[in-house]
C-alpha cells in the first residue's frame, strides 16, 4: 500500500500546518492550502488521494471547491470540515459527492479512521483508472 497523499485545505493556517505535521508523523504525505484557489491548483498539480476541505473559507466557498474537484477528479475523495456543527452543510456536501463530513474541533482518531477509509477507496479508484 502506497503512501496516502492528503491535501489539507483551511484558511486557519495554524490549524492546518499543525494538523499536517501530525498526519506526516503518522506517515502520510500531506500538503496544505489556505484557500480554494490554492487547493484547486494543488489538486491539478498532483491529485491527492484525499482532500480535507473546510467549508467556511474566504474566496471560493468550500462547496464550490468541492464541486470543481469532483468534476475534474472524480477519484479524489473529499472529507468536509464544518465549523457549524450543522448537518445541513454536511448533507449538502454529501450530495455533491463528498466522502463524509466532520465537525471542528476534530478528534484525531475519527479523522484518521475516515482518512484510511477514504484513502482505500481513492487508491482503488485511481488504481483502476
Amino acid at each position: 500500500m502506497q503512501e496516502l497523499k492528503v491535501l489539507l485545505v483551511d484558511d486557519e493556517e495554524e490549524f492546518v500546518t499543525t494538523l499536517a505535521e501530525r498526519l506526516s508523523l503518522r506517515g502520510m504525505a500531506t500538503r496544505i492550502a489556505t484557500d480554494g484557489e490554492q487547493a484547486l491548483r494543488a489538486v491539478e498539480a498532483d491529485p491527492p488521494h484525499v482532500v480535507v476541505l473546510d467549508l467556511m473559507m474566504p474566496g471560493i466557498k468550500g462547496t464550490e471547491a468541492l464541486r470543481r474537484i469532483k468534476a475534474g477528479h472524480p477519484g479524489v475523495q473529499v472529507i468536509l470540515l464544518t465549523g457549524h456543527g450543522s448537518a445541513r452543510d454536511g448533507i449538502e456536501g454529501m450530495k455533491l459527492g463528498a466522502f463524509d463530513y466532520l465537525m471542528k474541533p476534530l478528534r484525531l482518531e475519527d479523522l484518521l479512521e475516515k482518512l484510511h477509509e477514504a484513502g482505500r477507496l481513492a487508491q482503488a479508484a485511481q488504481g483502476n483508472s
Binding site: 486557519e12 490549524f15 501530525r22 465549523g83 450543522s86 474541533p105
Partner: protein, 576 residues
C-alpha cells in the same frame, strides 16, 4: 380652526390620559367619562324640567283664573242689569206720569207699590220740585219737605239728567243707592223723580257667585270705598285696604299681597255705566293646590331620573374603565411575552455565533496540544515525560468539554433535520418515561399518569419530543427527593392544541430562578448540569410551533406545561 374642529379637539384632550398603566390614569378617565355622561344627560333634563315647570304653571294659572274671570264678568252683568232695570223703571215712571199726577201722594203710593211688587229692592219713591224740595214721598221715612237743593246727587242729576249714586248711608243710617231722573215740563219747569234702592240686593248677587270660604268678592267704587260688605277687607263704606287696580274695560287678573300678608289673585272688572268695580279675591295657595301636587311630582321625577342617570353613568363608566384596564394589562402582558421570546431568540443566535467562532481557535488548541503530545511520544529522551503527558491530556480533555458544549449549542440553534410524522403524544411520553423507570424504582419515586385517551394524533418530530420530555423529566427527577412524586397529564386544550404537563413535588424554584430558566448556561445543578437543557427544550418547542410554561413555588414543586399544535407549524420545517 373651525368650531367643529375645536369641539373635537376639546373632546380628544378631555379624554386624553397618559399611556402607562397607573391607577391615577384610570381614575382620571373614570372621572372624566362620568362627568361627561352625567352632564350630557342631566343638563337637557334640567332644561326640560325648568321649561315644563314654567309652562305647566302658566297653563294651570290660565286654567284656574279663566272660570273666575267668567264668573266675575257674569256677576258684573247681573249688577249692570239690576241697575239698568231700576234706572229704566224710574225713567219710565217719570215719562208716563205728569208731575201733577206724581205730586198726588195717593197716586205715587199706588205706583210705588206696583213697582215694588215687580222689582224688589225699591225702598222709597219721591218727587222733588224745581226748588230741590221733596214735594211728595212714599216710603218708610218721613222725608217730605226735605230740601236737597245743595245735595251732591241733586246737582249731578241736574247736570246729567240721569244719576245713579254710590252706596251711602244718608239720613237713614242704612246703605242704599239713589237713582234719580230729571224731567222738564212743557212750560220749562224742571223736576226730579228719585228712588232709593236697598243694597241688600247687591249682597244677594255676590252670594250667588258661590265662592269658597277662603275667597272673597265685593263691589267697590272707583275711589276704593267698599259698596258691599267684604269677608276679609271691611264693611260697607270702609276704605278698601287694597290698592285699586288700573282701569280697564276687560276683566283682568293681577297678583298681589293683601294687608293680612296672603298672596292673592284679584280678578276685577270695571262697570261700563256706573262708577263701580267688582272684585273677586282668591288666595294663591288655593289656586296652586293642584300645581303644588304636580310640582312635587315633577321634582320627584327629576330627582329619580338624575339618580338613575348617575347610577348608570357611574356603573357604565366603572365597567368600561375596568374592561379597558384589563385589556391594557393583557396587551402589556403580551408585550412582555413577546419581549421575552425576542430576548431568548437573540440569546440563541448569540450563543450559536459564539460557539461557531470559538470552534476555530478550539481546533487550533486541539491540534497544537495533539502535536505536542505526538512529539513528546516520539522523542526518545524526554525529561518529565509523565508530567508533560498529564498536562497535555488535561488540555485535550478541556477542549473535548468545550467541543461538546459548542456542538450542543450549534446543534440546538441550527438543527434542521426535523422529521415530522403523525404521532401519539401519549405514546411518546410513555416511551420517554420508560427510560427513567430504573431510576424511579431505585429512588422509590412515585410516578402517576393521567393521559387523555381521546387525544388526537399530532404532526411533530418524535426524536425532538423525546428530547424535550426527557429533559423536563430529568429536571423533575432531579428536583424531587427520594420517595417524591412526579405526575404526568395530557389533555386536549382546544381542537388545535394539546397540553402536556409534568408536575413534581420537589424543591421548586424562586421567582429569580424562574426568570432565567430558559437562558443558556443557567443551571442550579452546579456540578452536573451544562445549563443548556431548558434552553434547548425551549428552542425545540418553539420550533415545533408549541409553547412552554413553568409554574413553580419554592418548597412546593414545579409544574412544566407544554402546549403543542395538532397540525405541524410551518416553522418546524423551515428553521430559523
Amino acid at each position: 380652526m373651525s368650531r367643529l374642529e375645536r369641539f373635537r379637539s376639546l373632546f380628544r384632550t378631555a379624554l386624553d390620559v397618559p399611556e402607562e398603566i397607573a391607577p391615577e390614569r384610570y381614575q382620571a378617565l373614570r372621572r372624566k367619562i362620568t362627568l361627561l355622561l352625567t352632564t350630557a344627560a342631566v343638563v337637557p333634563l334640567l332644561i326640560l324640567s325648568v321649561i315644563n315647570y314654567h309652562q305647566y304653571r302658566a297653563t294651570l294659572t290660565r286654567e284656574i283664573v279663566t272660570p273666575v274671570r267668567g264668573l266675575v264678568n257674569k256677576t258684573r252683568h247681573s249688577f249692570e242689569l239690576f241697575l239698568a232695570e231700576r234706572a229704566s223703571t224710574v225713567s219710565l215712571i217719570s215719562q208716563v206720569y205728569t208731575p201733577a199726577e206724581l205730586a198726588d201722594e195717593r197716586n205715587l203710593n199706588r205706583i210705588f207699590r206696583a213697582v215694588k211688587g215687580e222689582f224688589p229692592g225699591f225702598i222709597d219713591l219721591g218727587l222733588i220740585n224745581e226748588n230741590g224740595v221733596h214735594a211728595s214721598y212714599v216710603g218708610p221715612y218721613n222725608l217730605k219737605g226735605k230740601d236737597y237743593s245743595s245735595a251732591d246727587w241733586y246737582q249731578q242729576t241736574r247736570v246729567k239728567g240721569v244719576y245713579v249714586s254710590d252706596v251711602f248711608m244718608g239720613f237713614r243710617r242704612f246703605p242704599h243707592i239713589v237713582i234719580a231722573v230729571q224731567r222738564m215740563t212743557d212750560d220749562g219747569h224742571s223736576w226730579v223723580l228719585r228712588a232709593t234702592i236697598d243694597t241688600g240686593q247687591f249682597d244677594r248677587l255676590i252670594a250667588s257667585m258661590g265662592l269658597e270660604p277662603e275667597s272673597d268678592a265685593f263691589l267697590v267704587n272707583t275711589a276704593g270705598v267698599l259698596q258691599t260688605a267684604s269677608r276679609f277687607y271691611g264693611a260697607v263704606l270702609d276704605q278698601l285696604p287694597l290698592p285699586m287696580p288700573p282701569m280697564t274695560y276687560e276683566t283682568a287678573t293681577l297678583e298681589t299681597t293683601d294687608p293680612a300678608g296672603r298672596d292673592v289673585f284679584i280678578t276685577y272688572t270695571y262697570f261700563q255705566h256706573a262708577d263701580f268695580v267688582l272684585m273677586a279675591v282668591k288666595p294663591r295657595a288655593d289656586i296652586f293646590k293642584p300645581w303644588t301636587t304636580l310640582r312635587s311630582d315633577l321634582i320627584l321625577l327629576f330627582v329619580t331620573s338624575v339618580a338613575l342617570i348617575l347610577s348608570v353613568a357611574f356603573g357604565l363608566t366603572d365597567l368600561l374603565v375596568r374592561r379597558m384596564r384589563a385589556s391594557d394589562e393583557r396587551r402589556i402582558a403580551a408585550f412582555v411575552q413577546m419581549e421575552h421570546t425576542q430576548k431568548l431568540s437573540s440569546i440563541g443566535r448569540l450563543a450559536a455565533g459564539v460557539a461557531h467562532e470559538i470552534n476555530n481557535p478550539l481546533a487550533i488548541i486541539n491540534e497544537k496540544a495533539g502535536l505536542a503530545s505526538d512529539l513528546m511520544e516520539l522523542a526518545k529522551d524526554f525529561p518529565e515525560r509523565d508530567r508533560f503527558r498529564a498536562l497535555v491530556d488535561a488540555i485535550l480533555r478541556s477542549v473535548e468539554r468545550c467541543r461538546s458544549i459548542t456542538h450542543r449549542l450549534l446543534g440546538f440553534s441550527r438543527r434542521m433535520d426535523v422529521n415530522i410524522e403523525q404521532l401519539d403524544v401519549n405514546d411518546v411520553l410513555k416511551e420517554t418515561m420508560s427510560f427513567l423507570e430504573q431510576e424511579a424504582l431505585h429512588r422509590s419515586i412515585t410516578t402517576s399518569v393521567s393521559l387523555d385517551p381521546a387525544m388526537p394524533r399530532i404532526a411533530s418530530d418524535r426524536g425532538q419530543l423525546q428530547q424535550v420530555f426527557l429533559n423536563i423529566l430529568n429536571n423533575a427527577f432531579a428536583a424531587v427527593p427520594d420517595g417524591g412524586s412526579v405526575t404526568l397529564a395530557t389533555w386536549l386544550r382546544d381542537p388545535d392544541t394539546v397540553g402536556v404537563s409534568i408536575k413534581d413535588n420537589g424543591k421548586g424554584m424562586s421567582d429569580e430562578v424562574l426568570r432565567h430558566i430558559f437562558e443558556p448556561f443557567f443551571t442550579t445543578k452546579k456540578t452536573s448540569g451544562t445549563g443548556l437543557g431548558m434552553f434547548i427544550t425551549y428552542g425545540i418547542i418553539r420550533r415545533l410551533g408549541g409553547d412552554i410554561a413553568v409554574q413553580s413555588k419554592e418548597g412546593a414543586g414545579t409544574t412544566v406545561t407544554v402546549f403543542l399544535p395538532v397540525k405541524a407549524a410551518p416553522t418546524a420545517t423551515l428553521g430559523s
